[in-house]
């Protein structure tokens, strides 16, 4: 065997360099951006189904409809009206449909599956500033997000409270099921907003984005 020129020192130096190269090459992070797949449902139709808590035969449905997914056409609000009795309590249910598909798709089921990051808001107007309650359990919408308070009235005597809870820990309200409590005869509007709050839902209005924002005419007689 011929005499070797290789030394132990050369082995150590070579190994050290190779080791540092491995360390440097393996510390990069992996990154990706994932867009949503095409084909999400449109929220074309929002129904409020009310049942008088004192009279199960006293039911009504108000329908807000916008069949143009681009939103350019005016919505059909001819049935977006609730005629409520004075001093009554109604159990309410929100139903959302996609009527661009045949048969229409009930999007409520999907929202029900995703209650942990969806939250409905219900804002009666006109309302005095003293009645506007902003908290993580209130269904009122802050003035900074569009609620106009009135100093003079006449006010709409309607209070809406959510009755269903999600699966977060602790649970937060959702708003697919609600109570409508009326007072004295009055007229006004009810604004219904669905907030989509992915991993930011905390009971307040501001986090997230708006999935729908619709209005109903309210008559209390």
């Amino acid at each position: 065997m011929k005499k070797s020129n290789f030394s132990f020192r050369q082995l150590v130096y070579g190994s050290g360099i190779a080791f540092l190269m491995i360390m440097a090459g393996c510390n990069k992070k992996e990154s990706t951006v994932t867009p949503a797949p095409p084909g999400n449902e449109f929220l074309t139709t929002v129904e409020l189904k009310l049942t008088n808590a004192a009279d199960a035969t006293d039911t009504m449905t108000a329908i807000w409809r916008q069949l143009d997914p681009s939103g350019n056409a005016s919505p059909d609000t001819s049935k977006a009206i609730l005629n409520l009795k004075t001093n009554a309590t109604y159990n309410a249910q929100v139903v959302i449909l996609d009527e661009t598909q045949t048969p229409a798709v009930n999007v409520t089921d999907e929202i029900h599956d995703r209650v942990n990051y969806h939250l409905f808001y219900f804002q009666p107007t006109p309302i005095p500033a003293s009645s506007l309650v902003i908290s993580n359990t209130s269904a009122d919408i802050p003035t900074s997000d569009g609620t106009a308070v009135s100093a003079t009235g006449p006010y709409l005597n309607l209070v809406v409270s959510r009755t269903d809870l999600d699966n977060n820990n602790p649970p937060l309200q959702v708003g697919l099921m609600d109570n409508f409590v009326t007072g004295a005869a009055s007229n006004g509007w009810l604004r219904v907003v669905l907030r989509h709050q992915p991993n930011v839902k905390n009971g307040t209005f501001d986090p997230g984005s708006t999935d729908l924002d619709v209005n109903y005419k309210i008559n209390i007689n």
Binding site: S4, A18, F19, I22, N27, T34, N116, N167, V200, N202
Partner: protein, 247 residues
């Protein structure tokens, strides 16, 4: 099992006693190669959960690179005692699958996911074996046991919907030291009087029980790993050189 142990001990003693007069090739060597994760650790599952957390055993470990230093003192012709230090990394694989799971879970327009790597070092003493097959070519083997220290990758997920950035939540990196073992077999070829090349295949195993922290997980949806107790095992294939003493 006990019969297997007895046979192993007898074989070891026969080889050792019969060759005590001669000494095998004590060496110190370096090597590097590719590591292939196995089991759940190397899997990548699409996890979508809209109404609660899901703890998934898939570790998303990609094949990785490693480097090692080892050496052994041979007290007989065939058997020696020695040790191994190795360091390696495994990137997070199929990050698109991970990201798509969060996108579907939160029903959002876009999810941007960034993930680091598993980092792993081991320090293991144990038994070495060497047997010359033909002229310069020998078969080698080793059975080692010791400690393995592993850190898991940090995974950041940024959620955007309707052009609104809903913030970033993070699965934090966790570290743990655990018992591990390594068993390997390979070939050694003498290219110079004191220098050999080595080609080795090893199986490695450890099972650290990680407690993993997560930040900014407000709503119960999507993959959430608070605890990871899966075997970190796989196969290493390495090529290296060894300085053989006393030649």
């Amino acid at each position: 099992m006990s019969r297997l142990k007895l046979v192993s001990i007898i074989v070891f003693m026969v080889f050792s006693l019969g060759t005590m007069a001669q000494k095998g090739p004590s060496f110190i060597g370096v090597s590097g190669g590719i590591s292939f994760p196995t089991g759940n650790w190397g899997k990548a599952n699409f996890i979508s959960s809209t109404n609660g957390y899901v703890s998934d055993p898939a570790g998303f470990a990609d094949k990785g690179g490693f480097g090692s230093v080892d050496g052994a003192w041979f007290f007989s012709k065939h058997f020696g005692i020695g040790g191994l230090f190795s360091y390696g990394t495994h990137k997070t694989k199929n990050i698109n699958t991970l990201s798509a799971g969060y996108q579907d879970s939160f029903d959002v327009d876009q999810v941007a996911t960034t993930a680091g790597s598993y980092k792993m070092w081991s320090l293991m003493p144990g038994l070495y074996f060497d047997h010359r097959l033909w002229k310069k070519l020998s078969v080698t083997a080793r059975a080692l046991a010791g400690i393995t220290h592993t850190s898991t990758p940090e995974i950041s997920v940024d959620v955007t919907d309707s052009d609104i950035d809903d913030g970033t939540f993070v699965q934090q990196s966790a570290s743990k030291t655990a018992f591990g073992f390594d068993g390997g077999i390979g070939l050694r070829y003498s290219i110079l009087k004191c220098l050999s090349m080595r080609l080795l295949g090893d199986y490695f195993y450890s099972k650290p029980n990680f407690t993993i922290g997560n930040t900014k997980r407000l709503n119960e949806a999507g993959r959430l790993i608070n605890n990871y107790n899966q075997a970190l095992a796989g196969f290493n294939v390495s090529l290296g050189v060894a300085y053989v003493f006393g030649k």
